[in-house]
C-alpha cells in the first residue's frame, strides 16, 4: 500500500500530486492525482475528500486539469481525488483496441468474464482499495467522503454511492450515464465484462439501483442527489437517459431528494463541467459540514 510520487505541483495554496501504487484488486499499477488543500499539505491535518471520477477516454488528468474544482475545494479545505478510469499495462491486445471497452473504459464495475476478470475490478478499486490506500498514506479522513463524476464517471459515482450509501456524505454527477442497461455504451460493454445474463447488469445501472433501493426502502432519504445535464449534449439521447430518472423521481414523488438540472445549450465536455464545478463542490462541502473559510 505504499505510494510512489510521480509529480507534484503547488496549486491554490495546496498540492496537486500524481502517485502510482500497486493495486491488489486490479493486479496492475494504478495512477491517481490528489489535491490536498493547504492545511493538509502543510500541516498534515486530516481533511474530508471528494472523489472525482472521469469519463470514457479520460485518465486521472482530465478532471484535475480541466474542471477547475480545486479553487473552491481549497477555500473549503477539501481534498479532491482523481483516479484513473481503468487498469493499465495488461498483456492482452483487446485492452487497447477501442475507446468504449478496456483502457479508459472501466465503467466502475467488477468484470466477471475473460480476459477482463483478472484486472477490471474498478468497482472494488474505487469503493474499497483506493480509500484504504488514501487513508494509510495521506492526511485524508475517509470517514468524511463524497463522490462525483462525469459521464461514465457519473455512472460510477451514482452506482458506487447506491451500493455503499453510508460510505459517502453526498453524491453528484455531470452528464451521467444513468441507464447503463439501455445505453449504447452499456449494451456494448456489459456483455463483454459481465456476460450475456442481463440480470447481472442491473447492479451497475443507476436507475435500476434507485428503483431497487426505493422499493426496498433502503434508499437514503436524507441526502439530495445533484445532477447537471447539458441540453446540447450529443450523448443525451442514446447514452445518458436523464429523462428516465426524472420520470422515476416524479412517479415516486421523490422531488425533494433530487436536484436534476437541464443546463440550456451545454455540451458533454469540460467547458460544461467547469461552468458548474463550483456548484458541485458547494453541494458536497455542505454535506461534509465545511464552510468557505480558507
Amino acid at each position: 500500500m505504499t505510494l510512489t510520487l510521480v509529480s507534484q505541483s503547488k496549486h491554490f495554496g495546496g498540492l496537486l500530486t500524481k502517485y502510482t501504487h500497486v493495486s491488489a484488486v486490479n493486479q496492475c499499477t494504478m495512477t491517481f492525482n490528489v489535491f490536498l488543500p493547504k492545511t493538509a499539505a502543510e500541516h498534515q491535518t486530516k481533511v474530508p475528500v471528494l472523489y472525482c471520477l472521469g469519463g470514457l477516454t479520460s485518465t486521472e488528468d482530465n478532471f484535475a486539469q480541466k474542471a477547475g474544482a480545486a479553487s473552491r475545494a481549497a477555500q473549503y479545505g477539501l481534498a479532491l481525488v482523481f483516479p484513473d478510469t481503468s487498469p493499465r499495462g495488461v498483456d492482452f491486445a483487446e485492452a487497447g483496441a477501442r475507446e468504449d471497452i478496456g483502457y479508459s473504459a472501466g465503467f466502475y464495475l467488477n468484470a466477471t468474464q475473460a480476459p477482463w476478470n483478472k484486472n477490471w475490478k474498478m468497482y472494488d478499486y474505487i469503493s474499497k482499495e483506493l480509500p484504504q490506500v488514501l487513508s494509510a498514506n495521506l492526511p485524508i479522513d475517509i470517514s468524511r467522503s463524497s463522490i462525483t463524476g462525469h459521464s461514465m464517471g457519473g455512472h460510477g459515482a451514482l452506482t458506487i454511492f447506491l451500493k455503499n450509501q453510508t460510505a459517502y456524505k453526498s453524491v453528484s454527477a455531470f452528464a451521467p450515464i444513468l441507464h447503463m442497461t439501455k445505453a449504447n455504451w452499456g449494451r456494448f460493454a456489459l456483455p463483454k465484462y459481465l456476460g450475456d445474463d442481463e440480470s447481472t447488469w442491473k447492479e451497475y445501472d443507476s436507475i435500476e439501483l434507485f428503483k431497487l433501493h426505493h422499493a426496498q426502502k433502503t434508499l437514503r432519504t436524507d441526502i439530495n442527489v445533484l445532477i447537471d445535464q447539458g441540453t446540447g449534449d450529443k450523448f443525451l439521447k442514446d447514452n445518458l437517459h436523464t429523462e428516465d430518472l426524472i420520470e422515476f423521481v416524479k412517479k415516486e414523488g421523490l422531488e425533494n431528494q433530487f436536484t436534476i438540472r437541464y443546463q440550456d445549450g451545454y455540451d458533454h465536455g469540460y467547458f460544461f463541467i467547469s461552468t458548474f464545478a463550483n456548484d458541485h463542490v458547494d453541494h458536497h462541502a455542505k454535506a461534509l459540514g465545511l464552510t468557505l473559510s480558507h
Copy 2:
C-alpha cells in the same frame, strides 16, 4: 478575413469557439479559440478583449482548457482570445523536428531567415492581423485590448505591448521569458529565426525593450506591469531571468510601475497559472474599466 467555425461549446454562460482562418502574414491556416461572454455571444454587444498567449509546446487549447480564466472573464463581460503559438502545416521538415523552434515555438517574432521567413511572422500576426480578423468578424472592440501570456507567451505579451504601447490598456505575464537574448531558448532560436547579428535580437527581448523605452522616455508610466513567477520553476535560472527585471526596476526606481511577485513553491505549469488567473483577469479588467457585474 472570413472565419471557419471548427467547434463551439457553451461555457460560463458564454461561448468558447474554435475558428480557423487563412492568415495572410503567416501564409497558412491559423487556429484560435475565443471566449465570448454572454452579452457578446447572445446579443452581439461589443466587448473588450484579453489576448492570452501560450508557451512552448502549446496550441490554442492549453490556456483555454487549463487556466480557468473564463469564469472571471464572464463575470466582467470580457472576451478572451487564445491564439495558436506558431504557423502550422508548412512544407519543410525542420518545422516539426524540435520543441524549441518551429511548430508551437513561434516566439512572437517576425523571422528574417530561411526557411522561417516565409511563414513565421507571429509578431505581425498577433499585433496586426489577428486584431483585424477579430474586429471584422466578432463582437469584439479592439480599441479596448489587453494582453497576457505564459512563458514564451509572457515574452510575447510583454514585447508586443512594449512595441505597441498605445494598443493595449494593460499587460501581464505568468513566468515570462524576460531576457530572450540571454535565455537558453532564445540563444538557440534567435540566430535561426533572425540571423547571427545579435543587435537584431534586442527588439524581441523584454528587458532590452524596457531599458530602451525608459531611456528614450517612451515607456508608458500610467500602467502597472503584473508578473507572477513561481520560485519552484525549473526554468527560472536559465530561461526566465526574473531577477534581471527586478534589478532594472530597482535601479531606475520604477517600483510603482511594476508588480513582480515571486510565488513560493509554484512551478511552471498550469496548476500555477490557474492559481493566479483571477488576479490577472482582475488586473486587466480594472485597466479596461470593467466591474464584476455579470
